[in-house]
Symmetry: C2
Subunit: 521 residues, 2 copies
């Protein structure tokens, strides 16, 4: 009976009293949330400074906090939260990638789709081979023979992966749409390649590369890419269909929003469960949801989902950078460096050099190939843009010191863009006078030709298509695919799954009148 009562206590948990270990969790969360608030406020205050943004503020605040904790704990630890990569992959990454897919300029993305695949699949492979064999050569000569061939291949696989979270931070979709879609798209496709390569390193004997193994790898990639994308598309279409059918005539904002969030998350988790590329899945789920589901819900739901996804992504990003800041002070990590500083610096420099070479080895040749296929000169990737792609893609490793360290590249990317692409300077300085966040949809459209995809963007859904856009549509043959897709979409997809102009009209909906808000003013 006494046992029952004590289990009652623990089961009922009615009295919000925590045990000592729980108290530590509470203290950690409190400190972390306080720092997050601080980052937002300080980041906002420093927004006008071109070198600063929330993520750099977060790393800096994280560093300071790490030092303070290091000093107060007597040099034992710099961590506030014990943060595993599980937290990153289960909770923080999904909202960031989903939001990127949800807010991506779809036409820009699909227009460059072949180039993105080229970079993400073949580029990563080239980079992998370059880094792996470079590492074998150089480290072999340096007599660092603790590593076997498998380790070198793993190094190649790790360092040929780019980080899509970092791309979001340094490239702006509104300022440099072509670069953004190429580098970010590459980062997303890249994830599938990494999974394939990493599995290959573990399961194949890559020391004797035959054409058979190569085709097996290619087949694996194709399978993974198609299945992952398919899963994301299915999840998105299912949510569109469910909301269109179920909520017809009686909308409920809270349920719609909940269902969208849960379905997106579900697609990610299912992909993880079946060892697919969850990043690809949730990214395409975001694209499909913004194309169909988003148009089937009430106006309140539209505003809510748009900002909720952006806010969740925003908080997750700051969280990651804040953690990276405190993590940089981790003593364990620096112990190795301290024991052999010369070797550490040498290894780091060699890896850095290999990554630079590996990236150069595919960006320039593949850009050349991609340009050959394009007739319209405005769509070609010029040399300056190639340099930016090469440089911006160097950032990798969102959850490690590597990021804090590579953030240096990120810091330099913005000025590099300004330096290399002076035509952008005018428009971006115009933008910097705008007080909104980078993701805010108040940002006016840029005047340059690459940004004609406005009609495809979520927010500007009710804008009248501009004549230049229609002219463009017929001017270049690459748009033929798009035209056929539009026909297919209008005839078969939208009538079933809804979407703009095909969302069911709700006669009794009191918010219906205000759907076309921007037109009123």
């Amino acid at each position: 009976m006494a046992i029952e009562v004590s289990s009652l206590f623990s089961k009922l948990g009615l009295l919000s009293l925590f045990s000592t270990s729980d108290q530590t969790i509470v203290a950690s969360i409190t400190l972390f949330v306080t720092l997050l608030c601080g980052c937002i406020v300080i980041g906002h205050l420093l927004e006008e400074n071109r070198w600063m943004n929330e993520s750099i503020t977060a790393i800096f605040i994280g560093l300071c906090t790490g030092i303070v904790i290091l000093l107060t704990s007597g040099g034992k630890s710099s961590h506030i939260l014990v943060f595993s990569e599980d937290i990153f992959f289960i909770y923080l990454l999904p909202p960031i990638i989903f939001n990127a897919g949800f807010q991506v300029k779809k036409k820009q993305f699909f227009r460059n789709f072949m180039t993105i695949i080229l970079f993400g699949a073949f580029g990563t492979l080239i980079s992998f081979v370059t880094i792996s064999f470079g590492a074998v050569e150089i480290f072999g000569r340096m007599k660092i023979d603790l590593l076997d061939i498998g380790d070198f291949l793993a190094i190649g696989a790790i360092f040929s992966a780019t980080d899509s979270v970092c791309t979001l931070q340094v490239l702006n979709q509104d300022e440099t749409p072509l670069l953004y879609s190429l580098v970010f798209g590459e980062g997303v496709v890249n994830d599938a390649t990494s999974v394939v390569l990493f599995n290959a390193v573990q399961n194949f004997d890559l020391t004797h590369i035959s054409s058979k193994i190569f085709f097996q790898l290619a087949g694996n990639f194709l399978y993974l890419f198609v299945i992952s994308t398919f899963l994301g598309v299915i999840a998105g279409l299912l949510s569109a269909y469910a909301i269109k059918k179920l909520y017809f005539g009686r909308h409920s904002t809270d349920r719609e929003v909940a269902l969208m969030i849960l379905m997106a998350y579900l697609s990610y988790m299912i992909a993880e469960l079946f060892d697919l590329s969850a990043i690809l899945t949730v990214f395409f789920c975001g694209i499909v949801m913004s194309h169909y589901t988003w148009h089937n819900v009430t106006e309140s739901s539209r505003v809510t989902t748009k900002h909720t996804f952006a806010t969740l992504s925003f908080i997750a990003e700051i969280f990651i950078f804040l953690y990276v800041g405190t993590d940089a002070m981790d003593i364990e990590k620096w112990r190795f460096v301290r024991s052999s500083p010369g070797e550490s610096i040498a290894v780091s420099s060699i890896l850095l050099g290999l990554v630079l070479i590996g990236r150069a080895a595919f960006v320039f040749p593949l850009s050349f190939l991609s340009n050959l296929a394009k007739r319209n000169s405005s769509e070609k990737i010029d040399f300056k843009q190639q340099i930016t792609i090469w440089w911006a893609g160097l950032m990798r490793g969102a959850v490690s010191v590597a990021l804090a360290y590579n953030k240096v590249f990120g810091l330099l990317t913005k000025p590099l863009i300004r330096l290399l692409l002076p035509t952008m300077r005018h428009s971006s300085s115009m933008l910097s006078s705008e007080p909104s966040s980078p993701k805010s949809f108040i940002v006016p459209l840029l005047g340059n030709g690459q940004d004609l995809e406005a009609e495809d963007e979520v927010d500007k859904s009710n804008q009248v298509p501009r004549p230049t856009s229609i002219r463009m549509l017929f001017a270049t043959p690459t748009h033929t695919v798009h035209r056929y897709w539009r026909k297919f979409d209008d005839r078969f997809m939208r009538p079933v799954f809804g979407g703009r102009g095909f969302a069911p009209f709700i006669p009794g909906s009191p918010t219906e009148q205000s759907v076309h808000l921007p037109d009123h003013d």
Copy 2:
């Protein structure tokens, strides 16, 4: 070096490959999210059925899942997720209580404030004493002497606490505003009393109750109540001030929403950290945020926060009920019952009887006292309402089988209200034809006198105050306090912290024109 590489792997975590134990977590989350989606869809389909709602659907689906898991795992376990009360208190409870504070009808709540305190503080004390001493008497005679006096007092403390989450499920703020504010308000204040009582049971020698101990307890309660409320109010005001000052002239929806969410959560965690009543804190934080902060942000932020808070609360509630369903199949819990079924039933029945008596011992006398203080007969709590309060407050224990079991009370509460308060029947049947969720703000105002507080509600912020409301304001002396508060608020608080009509005007804000949406139509 090999160690460094393996730590690189785990640190970088670039390749989304999970180890086997992680795979279990992923599988659990996948299953749980799938069930959540199912609950929302099925709950929505069954909405017109008066006996069903999402929470009952969730318990039912949880039960079925528990049985399936029990059968497939060969009778080992019925759990999907290992779910501790920490998850409940750290992640699920804050959004629910905050949203309740954010959406509460403030005037209704504060008009009944004295009655709520009477119920929540003195009522809980009366119930505690009744249950504890009843248990001592009855269990003493039954020769169940495994428990000492401290255990009996703990039983009293546990069973005199009501559960505010369950109240939200069965009472509707729009249908029965007076009952809702009384029972829910009691549940919130009750939390502070529970903390005090539980601390008292652990730290005082309650076998010899002297007037000194009584005053000490009263002092503790007063301290806890005031400090917890104060913390919530401060957090709310701070967010209002920060957003008003920082974002003046350059709003950023994502940052505003992030800041509101984080500040609210921070207030809860700080209260937990200092062993205060976090429920009280976050509830008052919600009230202050809806009164000040909410009016200082952009219109997009208003729509977003309103629905985000409701959605998060909604998901958290379904999550809890889903878990409760699977938990009911827990074998460990039923092992005790199976070993001595007679005793279990006897103990349960006695406890149930004691709770019923303990609750009756304060609801009826305190309602009588409360009625004495009120002159206006429409504000008095009539006998039928007293019975409903007595009954609706019986639900307790959100995270245990106790809830699934007590949910029976919840199920019976709705018909009881219809039976006892037939005047409500008309309006509630009118409501049930409304397709919206219970929390939806599309629900029209009810025609009865208790619902004149519309002007204080978040959504109807731009409605013209109706003359009856003004008449009421001067008709009864209890409104004097409110009048003075309004004066104080308008003169000192709103100019500093913003709020309706005092939010700074943003000249350049493109959404400014559409702020007064309801007036346009």
